[in-house]
Assembly symmetry: C2
Homo-oligomer: 456 residues x 2
Amino acid sequence: MSKKPSVPKGTRDFSPAEVAKRNYIMQTIKEKFQLFGYQPIETPSFENSETLLGKYGEEGDRLIFKILNSGDYLSKVDDSALREKNSNKISPQISEKALRYDLTVPFARYVVQHQNEITFPFKRYQMQAVWRADRPQKGRFREFWQCDADVVGSKSLWQEVELVQLYDDVFNQLQLKGVTIKINNRKILSGIAEMMGAENKLIDFTVALDKLDKIGEEGVINEMLAKGIEQTAIDKLKPLFSLTGNTEARLSKLRELLAASPTGLEGVDEVAFVVNSVNELGLKASTIELDVTLARGLDYYTGAIFEVAPPQNVQMGSIGGGGRYDDLTGIFGLKGVSGVGISFGLDRIYLVLEELGLFPTTVEENTKVLFINFGEKEALYAQKAIAHLRDNNIPAELYPDAAKMGKQITYADKRNIPFVALAGETEINKSSYTLKNMKTGEQQEVMLNELDDILN
Amino acid sequence: MSKKPSVPKGTRDFSPAEVAKRNYIMQTIKEKFQLFGYQPIETPSFENSETLLGKYGEEGDRLIFKILNSGDYLSKVDDSALREKNSNKISPQISEKALRYDLTVPFARYVVQHQNEITFPFKRYQMQAVWRADRPQKGRFREFWQCDADVVGSKSLWQEVELVQLYDDVFNQLQLKGVTIKINNRKILSGIAEMMGAENKLIDFTVALDKLDKIGEEGVINEMLAKGIEQTAIDKLKPLFSLTGNTEARLSKLRELLAASPTGLEGVDEVAFVVNSVNELGLKASTIELDVTLARGLDYYTGAIFEVAPPQNVQMGSIGGGGRYDDLTGIFGLKGVSGVGISFGLDRIYLVLEELGLFPTTVEENTKVLFINFGEKEALYAQKAIAHLRDNNIPAELYPDAAKMGKQITYADKRNIPFVALAGETEINKSSYTLKNMKTGEQQEVMLNELDDILN
């Protein structure tokens, strides 16, 4: 192979520094998941195709990575389909497995398959890679990680309250202050649609309304009209244009506006319960805010809808999202199991922490001391100290070759190893070690037990 | 979908208990890797096909999972190849990516691709899933995990010494005593082949010799003759049949036997250096033992060969292996980079720890206390205590619904939650909580700050 090797489009290698930072975020999320009583599960990287196909819409099916059957997979293929060269028709005949596209459908499959072993309500978390054959672009990859927490088997709104607290606790632990947790409710959106008299224009309406800050009231109205929303509907929903003030004030306006829609009022009540409870219990790093334009995953969510915006000084899309779905496991034949969950966007959280300089300097676990190799006898002497240090949980290494001193020091320097230990004839005779601080250049002669104290 | 959903053949779901146990092993290995100065990298789950194909032999190529191209992948396929229905010929035209088959080839690719960012010698570890389209059987899966530590860029034998110590330290930490670390050297095998006058009979020879304990000397000789090994060669190599005693004695016999082979003697010297250094520094949970029948990965290794056997009271194959390869990165155009590495067999280590009852009882991180839900007001009161406990790092949860007491207690019981907290009107008025020990049934009324002490 003559050309330099590379990774497939949309995938990444992670260097030691990157793995350390990613682990720092994932470990923080994981600890909070456990603190809140969520339990980990893991599912296989690939599923039977029938588990995944048809669950994410037509576009989703197209983006699912399919795995070619092993062996002589063509032998059983229908000749006429082959002659037609119809890829869509051939795929199910030559591929029976597909890579995980998200963590939600495999979770639903898991719950149905293991329903007799599970204690409901089942609080589970899952942090694994997913794959999508999307066009790669900045911040969008073909292999990326999802970190999900979901509860299934209870309709209690305390779960929504808790998931908001969970977001807050994670971001607080990551020192990421100023996060906005946006909340909406599918039932409020249904109420708005009822008022409009047109469910199919709902997304156009929320998308246009979301631009209020940018294009002003007139701009929003023009866009709505252009999308075919009727003037009478716009007039009726005008109060949504001035939905300002704190969440309490907004909710009370919304209650008036949706007075004729029982479903809409139910949504208002649900949001009010969650927001009031959350505020009563207190948030540490975030604020919670009603956003009636929030409509992510409309076909999917049936109650609460969440989305998390990073601090305003960062240019970045949402770093998390979620909501309630009333019939997740129905697709696999287990009806009436309500669920609610949230997801953390690992890659974006990484970029935000990087931009704000929020990774702790200690995040890269590193060797504390490099022992210089002066030859076989000295190396064995050094190895005894190294074994001792490792037994005391202090990462230490020997430079493997008796190379020139300068080369060994350069290695310590490039690896950011803070101390170098030297032991030649003189030190061996005195059972001592000369320890050099790589930053200050200071040197001191110490005994083995003193090494622990200095390096710990 | 009417039938119960399932996972693909050879893959597994991991329950909370299984994830906890797997994480315990992986975390232990990871901490030791870092203590020894190894740094983590991660590579994508799939690679460009040309990176993987042709690297594992014909059988390996067959077992690599190939990913179907997206879109209308058939449109560019050669018509005549389609008409022939030749799967092997079509595959490269409809598949450009393949799932990782091991961690070694991606590591070699990584080193070559990032050679200018890497400080050599490069000590890296990697713990990721790999996939093989092998026939599944007990202990063999189509998705499984490898945990590898390798150093590239130095020929120093101190690395071999250190890798033996690393094995020992991991197994010691896992409380797995009585492990045997077998060592051999490709150069000793080359010396034996020279003596036989037939390199291509070497594997037959070692496989037969390995059965000495089981089938006795005569059985071994008969098997060798049946495999076409000449009587004169067997006579010459007879001393290998009585290679007993400690490693020092064995090495000295071997030195006599291989006196005519400079390569063989070099191998003996290398093993002697590693074994003597390891014994001088001391092992905690394992013994190191020369095994001249050890020939794993013969085409691949050029120096040391390692294999780890579990304690003798467990019926199980090797739980780890590795060795030195002198030209790992040559396949990607970077010549002359020597490497040495070891691998831990996660699935088998799991089975061994399970069989010997060596998982700590604390391995499953779990909720410490469940607060019983008596209704909205009581739940809010409970939530305040829960937030306080979580701030003090004590996992706590509220039962989400105001269900019947018995149902809530059953939930705590099934989840193995050790304490249940109750707070109704009486407790709220006194700012107290009634704490019930689920094991003993004891109940006591405590204040919030006392909860921390009891549950910590």
